[in-house]
């Protein structure tokens, strides 16, 4: 039986810092240690707090509604999400990854995702490290889904990332709303809970998976979605500060006959992808930007490869990576 209660005073989580900032005006950025602690508290809450609810994700005029149930298991988490509109999709996440089950056109498709983090689990497990690259400013109190929250601005220290405004629930630090914003403070994308119940979960969840459900979620043994890269054909000379490569796999994309390489760079919060594949003909250099400017991309030729770089980041970040790509002279041809 859980001890959680929505009326519990703040500070229940071990190691959490009580905020002592003036309530009304947005204060100066927090000193690095406090910033790190605050980020870590919000990050931990998404994994360690039990909650269930419905949230809306919005980009421009496009919206998606999802339900989520999060159950902490020891220090890890188990989440289940379900799309409430559009294609029927259910996602199950654990520490080791996530599997998505789509019912489309009468068919059931199981897909493994590379990442297992969804809103509100936006911040990485080591969120304290973000304090090196982002200013953290507590702001005013707001209400989201009926709960008291504190607005927290997480703004980049440079031009290589977008910022966020998070609304962290007072008692637990759980982000109930997150707005991704650009350099002018314009919103790019937004998540917000419409309703949430923190602490006690419906008893039906604790009965575990039935036999049928277990079968429905077992990936066929042959379905290996990705495999590791053996030889690197390209080197990245120029990464924005704080970014490192967090994964590199070979994977099959729907429109392509052969596998492509997919590398991901991240600072923990911002993600940029690099795709590499053989260039079948001379590649023209192209730059693109999504309508609201949230996603920037570049495509160019590097040696014998076609490189496509895209990410939820400002153009300077994509440009830095794209311009710094060099073919490795020791690379074997594919």
């Amino acid at each position: 039986m859980t001890q959680w209660c929505m009326r519990m005073p703040a500070g229940m989580l071990a190691g959490c810092m009580a905020l002592s900032v003036p309530a009304v005006q947005a204060a100066d950025p927090l000193p690095p240690q406090e910033a790190a602690a605050l980020l870590q508290r919000m990050s931990d809450a998404a994994r360690r707090v039990a909650y269930e609810g419905v949230f809306v994700m919005q980009h421009g005029a496009s919206m998606q509604t999802l339900s989520i149930v999060n159950r902490p298991v020891g220090t890890a988490k188990e989440s289940r999400l379900a799309a409430l509109d559009g294609v029927e999709r259910e996602i199950r996440c654990s520490e080791t990854g996530s599997v998505s089950r789509v019912i489309e056109g009468g068919q059931i498709k199981l897909e493994k995702r590379l990442n297992s983090r969804y809103f509100p689990d936006l911040l990485p497990p080591n969120a304290a490290a973000l304090a090196s690259w982002y200013h953290v400013k507590p702001g005013e109190r707001v209400r989201v889904a009926g709960l008291d929250c504190r607005q927290i601005e997480v703004s980049p220290k440079d031009d290589f990332r977008w910022g966020y405004v998070l609304c962290a629930e007072q008692g637990t630090g759980l982000p109930l709303k997150a707005v991704m914003v650009n350099e002018s403070g314009q919103p790019l994308m937004q998540y917000a809970f419409a309703e949430i119940r923190i602490g006690s979960l419906p008893r039906v969840e604790s009965r575990g998976l039935s036999k049928t459900e277990q079968t429905a979620w077992t990936m066929p043994p042959a379905a290996a979605a990705t495999r590791p890269i053996m030889l690197e054909t390209v080197s990245v000379k120029n990464l924005p500060p704080g970014f490192s490569r967090i994964t590199a796999v070979k994977r099959k994309l729907p429109n392509k006959p052969e596998e492509v390489e997919h590398w991901v760079f991240s600072d923990g919060l911002t993600h940029i992808s690099l795709f590499l594949e053989p260039a079948l003909q001379p590649i023209e250099s192209i730059r693109g930007q999504s309508k609201q400017g949230m996603i920037n991309m570049a495509k160019r030729q590097v040696g014998t490869m076609q490189a496509t770089i895209l990410g939820d980041a400002p153009w300077p970040a994509i440009e830095a990576i794209a311009m710094g790509l060099e073919a490795r002279s020791d690379a074997a041809t594919r």
Binding site: N255, E284, G288, D312
Partner: protein, 178 residues
């Protein structure tokens, strides 16, 4: 929250209390919304609901109290009565008809459909050294639908679960100086 554990129950149980018929009915409704009525009792309670007009509103009060205790925006007006009034014009729903569920796949991740993203790009001709001025736009959308799988694969990692129909790309021209 402190929980007091009572060592002795001093309150009379339901069977000892003399509930009026109305009170019994309401107590059943209270248990019904908590999901704590046996199947048989639930069936009776639901049937009785039809005979007692004010009961549905009372049930609404109980539900609204719970919401208010949890600090949620709530409401208590004639909404359900209005819905039920409108339903009176509807043919009564009878036993389930096994119809095949029509699926209308709305794009969720830009996996396969070319219409998912429209790219508008201005390409610089690699033979020219001049950057194409931003004012001159050439629409080459069809060629760049191939970007959708990249976006989907990227979003596979970058936590977005949104449909990518809004990802309309604009601008371009990129000069790579050797």
């Amino acid at each position: 929250m402190k929980i007091h554990v009572m060592t002795e129950s001093t309150m009379p149980s339901q069977s000892e209390q003399q509930n009026s018929p109305a009170e019994s009915r309401h107590e059943n409704l209270s248990a019904l919304i908590d999901g704590e009525l046996s199947d048989g009792m639930a069936r009776i309670a639901i049937t009785q609901l039809g005979h007692s007009p004010g009961d549905l509103a009372r049930l609404g009060e109980y539900l609204a109290i719970g919401d208010a205790m949890r600090g949620l925006n709530t409401r208590h007006d004639g909404f359900s009565a209005r819905v039920m009034a409108e339903l009176e014009n509807e043919p009564v729903v009878l036993a389930p008809v096994q119809k095949k569920r029509e699926s209308r796949p709305t794009l969720w991740l830009a996996a396969a459909t070319a219409a998912a993203i429209t790219w508008v790009v201005w390409q610089s001709n690699p033979r020219d050294d001049l950057a194409v001025p931003l004012a001159s736009v050439q629409q080459t959308a069809p060629q760049f639908d191939e970007a959708s799988p990249y976006l989907a694969a990227h979003q596979d990692f970058a936590q977005a679960v949104i449909s990518t129909q809004e990802m309309r790309f604009t601008k371009a021209s990129l000069e790579i100086r050797p």
